[in-house]
Amino acid sequence: MSEEYSVEIVNPEKSFLSKNDVTEVVVPAFEGEIGILKDHISIISFLKPGIIKIFSKSGEESFYVNDGIIEFKDNNLSILTSLILNLKDIDKEKISEIQKSAEEELNKPDINDQEKYLLDQKLEVLKSIN
C-alpha cells in the first residue's frame, strides 16, 4: 500500500504548492511540532512562525511560514498561510526585513504575552535561517 497523500499550500494570492506524493509533513503547530503521516486522524491546528518540512518521493523541501492554519482530512492536508517562503530560494534581504519589523513590534509597550511569545519564536526561527 502506498504511504503517500496530498498536500496543498495556499496563501491569499494563489495556490502556492500542491503535491500528491508526500510521505510526511512536519508543521510548527502552536503547541509543538506535529509530524503528519498518511491516515492521520482529522485535525485542525494553528501554526506559529516556523519551518514546514515536506518529505516526498522527489525529495525534501522546507518552507518558512509566518502563521497559518492546517486542516487534515481524508488524506488531504491543507495549509493556509498569509506568508510563506521557500527556503531554497530565499532572499536574505526579505528575511532581514521581516526580522526588523518583528523586532520593532516586540519593542512596542502594549503587547500581550501571547504576541510576545509568537514574536520571540519568529525571531528565533529567522535567525536560524539567516
Binding site: E8, V10, N11, P12, E13, K14, S15, A29, F30, E31, I34, I41, S42, I43, I44, S45, F46, I69, E71, K73, S78, L80, S82
Partner: protein, 291 residues
C-alpha cells in the same frame, strides 16, 4: 450651420478623444486579465477558510459561549458598512451601482431607527457619499499607492474593523462590493461579515470528528479575525476585476460612440463643403450670364 473650419476642428477633437478611449480600453483589457487571474487564484484560500470555519462552528456545542465575531453581540443597533469602490473614475456604472445598493441598505437601517456608521474604501465612494452621509462616515481608506490588490491592504481594513468591534462600536458589519460575473455584468453585493452568516451550515458534512489543537474555541477566536480579512480581500479582488471589466466596456462604448459621431460630422462636413461649392458655381454662372 457651423462653418467648415468649425466642423473640421470638431472632427479632429472627437478623433483624438476616440484615441484616448481606445487606449484606455486596451489598458483595461490587459489589467482585467491580470485581475481576473488573481481573483481566481485567490478563491482556494477563502473557500478553504470558509470550510474550516464551517466545520469548526458545527463542532461548537455551546452557542452562548461562542466568540462574539461568530454569534454577534446579541444586539442589532449599530450597523457598520464597509463600502468598497474604486480610486479612479471613468469606469461606467461601477461605483454608482455599489453606492446605489449601499444607499438602499442605509435607508433601511435609518428608517428602522438604528445607527449607521460607514467606512469607505476607495476615494470615489467617499466622493459620492459625503454629501448625503458625511456625518456617518467614520473612516476613509484609499489604496491609491498600491498598484495591485494585496493581502496586507485587506488585512489593514480587517484590523480596523475588528478593533472597532472589540471596542463595541458596532453590532453588525456588512461589506459592499461588486462581484465580477463577466465583462458586461457585475453584480453589486451586500455581504454580512459580523456576525458570520452560517446559512450553509446544514449542507456541510456534519459529524466530522476533528482533533483540535489547541481547543476549538481558541482556534475559532484566532481564526475569525483572519476570516474577516480574507473576506475583505476576496471582495477587493472581485472589485478590482469588476472595475477593469466595467471600465473596459465603458471605454468600448465610448470608442464606438465617438466613431459614430465622427461619421455624422464627416457627412455634415462633406454636405456643407458641397453646398459651398454649389453656391460658388451659381455665383460664377450668374455673374457670367449678366455680362
Amino acid at each position: 450651420m457651423a462653418s467648415l473650419d468649425d466642423l473640421k476642428k470638431r472632427i479632429s477633437s472627437v478623433k483624438s478623444t476616440q484615441k484616448i478611449t481606445k487606449a484606455m480600453k486596451m489598458v483595461a483589457a490587459a489589467k482585467l486579465r491580470r485581475a481576473q487571474e488573481s481573483a481566481e487564484k485567490g478563491r482556494p484560500y477563502s473557500d478553504k477558510m470558509n470550510n474550516i470555519i464551517l466545520n469548526l462552528s458545527n463542532g461548537i456545542s455551546d452557542i452562548d459561549n461562542a466568540p462574539k465575531l461568530l454569534s454577534g453581540t446579541g444586539e442589532d443597533k449599530v450597523h457598520l458598512c464597509v463600502v468598497m469602490t474604486s480610486d479612479r473614475g471613468l469606469c461606467g456604472g461601477f461605483n454608482t451601482n455599489i453606492i446605489k445598493k449601499a444607499k438602499l441598505y442605509f435607508q433601511k437601517i435609518l428608517d428602522e431607527g438604528k445607527t449607521l456608521k460607514i467606512i469607505t474604501v476607495g476615494t470615489k465612494g467617499y466622493d459620492q457619499l459625503k454629501r448625503l452621509y458625511g456625518d456617518n462616515i467614520i473612516e476613509r481608506i484609499s489604496f491609491k499607492e498600491s498598484k495591485n490588490v494585496n493581502y496586507f491592504d485587506a488585512d489593514k481594513v480587517g484590523k480596523i474593523v475588528i478593533e472597532k468591534f472589540d471596542k463595541n462600536e458596532f453590532d453588525v458589519c456588512a461589506i459592499f462590493y461588486n462581484q465580477f460575473k463577466n465583462v458586461i455584468t457585475q453584480i453589486p453585493q451586500e455581504q454580512q461579515i459580523i456576525p458570520l452568516k452560517t446559512s450553509e451550515k446544514e449542507e456541510n458534512s456534519l459529524g466530522d470528528n476533528y482533533e483540535f489543537e489547541p481547543e476549538e474555541d481558541e482556534i475559532l477566536s484566532n481564526l475569525l479575525p483572519k476570516n474577516i480579512s480574507t473576506q475583505i480581500f476576496k471582495a477587493m479582488l472581485e472589485n478590482s476585476a469588476s472595475e477593469q471589466g466595467s471600465r473596459m466596456s465603458a471605454m468600448d462604448n465610448a470608442t464606438r460612440n465617438a466613431g459614430e459621431m465622427v461619421d455624422k460630422l464627416t457627412i455634415e462636413y462633406n454636405r456643407s463643403r458641397q453646398a459651398a461649392i454649389t453656391k460658388e458655381l451659381i455665383e460664377i454662372i450668374s455673374g457670367a450670364e449678366s455680362l
